[in-house]
Amino acid sequence: MADQPTPSPKPSAGAPSPPRPPKPEDLLKPVPLDSELLKRLRERFADAIGEAILDRKQAIIKVSSAPLLEICRYLRDDEKFDFLTDLTALDWPKRERRFDVVYNLYSFPKNERLRLKAEVAVSQKIASVASVWGAANWLERECFDMFGIVFDGHPHLKRILLPDEWQGHPLRKDYDILKQDTDWVRENLHIESGQ
């Protein structure tokens, strides 16, 4: 059908050729984050704000653990990140400060997500944000339970999923998947071999 009105899929010779679509791998590469929010944060907290990237269109900002509480208060009150969606941690055993504490924030007024990451070493404590977002209470307890990260100023820091007397923190990378607190299991469950 030569005279069909809809444009043919082939581009005509005169029209500029459409830009080549980027390769799928390139789309997944993190790019530096550039936003007004980041500028305001840098202005206010200067060196405490580290690298900021956009990974798969999601904003991630690394922050220093020292003024964490002030940054979180600022984000909640001035930037309206009023909802702590999730709080968790990552373990990178080869790093000097091996844990990343990850805060997934959400803002109802802006409909926007933001992820904060704070590095912390095994011997170090990190400020509890339970006074900023009440949801952090149990989430920090779970983090303490699974990774052994101590949250300073938490109202009630104790294990939440594992028994109180349990030894070890299972989500650390050096905790083997078959490992368990055999003494506790023998004593409380009366199972000799464990597995």
Partner: protein, 378 residues
């Protein structure tokens, strides 16, 4: 000034002359699993509470680090085991985002239909058991009758009723069976009348009103502060739903409403969930008429190796926001999978809801939270 800290029995055992400690669970029919609650009572009034959880902890997040991306998919069904389809959708969409692929339209439509049917099934289970806890035995028989129909559709589609593993990373494994559309149409056609029947049993029932109105109030400020999501947040008055805020699957194509409450009490949460079932039914009806033809699987490799990076993706599960935070280090196994469990975080509001209530209300409040302990403990 009231002490705002969470109270624990071990903490110096500060009991007044009239106060006692009551232990509830972990083996208790009204706690819907193995939840243990310690209550501090002044007469019959509750002055403090503590939830003790972890009896069902299986270390799902640790297991994830030792499985490939595809191998881990069936495990998420076992967290919230009465809404396995929703969990599965959240996980496969997260990995798809990590890989940079998108499921083809037909797969997204089928996913939407099954997930909405799952929401109905989950809410029906909640309604039946919640009413049973409060003393209305009859609704259970009706709700399980309809839930059975939904489970039959799942069974015909993928062979399983409960832990379905219905979706695959990249789309669907199975094409819909012959008669799928008719089954869904028939179910939806009858379902509005069924919801009206449940409402006829409960909504204006004086006992029901007495047991739910003004019980377990959660203000909007507390709900946001404590991270509550799903029907609990909406019953407190915030019109927020991930299906609208960050549309996934095919939700942007359909017309549906987000019901909200005003008082944030048990009755409002009941009304919100009832209306949600009708809206889910509406979505199914629209989706089944517009379901496109075409492939059901996107192009994904046999070996899934997402480029290094991380992604957080969440969907509106029946219980609230179920989120997955997956970190890839470029190998075939995820470096970390974090499940954001709606039940776990919603359960934090329990202490706020229960203070000042009577012992009998505890059962109503646990029911209205709609928790599944498999998800709380993971």
């Amino acid at each position: 000034m009231p002490d705002e800290r969470p109270w624990t029995a071990t903490e110096e055992t500060v009991l007044g002359a009239d106060e006692i400690i009551l232990n509830m669970g972990p083996q208790h029919p009204a706690t819907h699993g193995v939840l243990r609650v310690k209550l501090k009572l002044d007469g019959e009034k509750i002055v403090g509470s503590e939830c003790i959880i972890g009896y069902l902890h299986r270390g799902v997040e640790k297991i994830a680090e030792h499985r490939t991306y595809a191998q881990f998919a069936p495990y998420v069904d076992r967290t919230d085991y009465v809404a396995a389809v929703s969990n599965g959708l959240g996980y496969v969409e997260t990995v798809e985002k990590l890989l940079g692929v998108e499921a083809p339209p037909r797969a997204r439509w089928v996913r939407t239909i099954l997930t909405e049917l799952q929401r109905i099934a989950s809410h029906l289970l909640w309604l039946g058991t919640h009413a049973l806890d409060i003393g209305a035995i009859t609704p259970l028989f009706y709700t399980f009758r309809e839930r059975e129909e939904v489970l039959k559709i799942f069974e015909k589609y993928c062979g399983a009723r409960l832990t379905t593993h219905a979706f695959r990373i990249g789309g669907l494994q199975y094409e819909t069976y012959d008669g799928f559309e008719d089954d869904v149409r028939r179910f939806c056609r009858d379902f509005y009348r069924r919801v009206d029947e449940y409402e006829a049993l409960l909504t204006e029932n004086r006992i029901w009103l007495g047991r739910t109105k003004g019980v377990g109030i959660l203000t909007i400020k507390d709900a946001i502060d404590l991270g509550a999501t799903g029907p609990i947040l909406r019953a407190s008055g915030l019109r927020w739903d991930i299906r609208k805020a960050f549309p996934y699957a095919a939700y942007s194509e359909f017309d549906f409403m987000i019901p909200t409450g005003t008082n944030g009490d048990t009755f409002d949460r009941y009304m919100v969930r009832m209306e949600e079932m009708r809206q889910s039914c509406r979505i199914c009806q629209q989706a089944i008429e517009t379901i496109p033809a075409g492939p059901i699987m996107a192009k994904v490799g046999k070996v899934l190796k997402p480029p290094p990076g991380e992604v957080y993706h969440s969907i509106e599960a029946p219980k609230g926001e179920i989120g997955y935070y997956v970190v890839s280090d470029g190998t075939v196994q995820p470096y970390r999978v974090r499940i954001r469990p709606p039940s776990f975080i919603n359960l934090q509001s329990f202490d706020k809801m229960v203070k000042g209530m009577l012992v009998a209300d505890v059962v109503a409040i646990i029911g209205t939270l709609d928790i599944v302990l498999g998800e709380v403990d993971r």
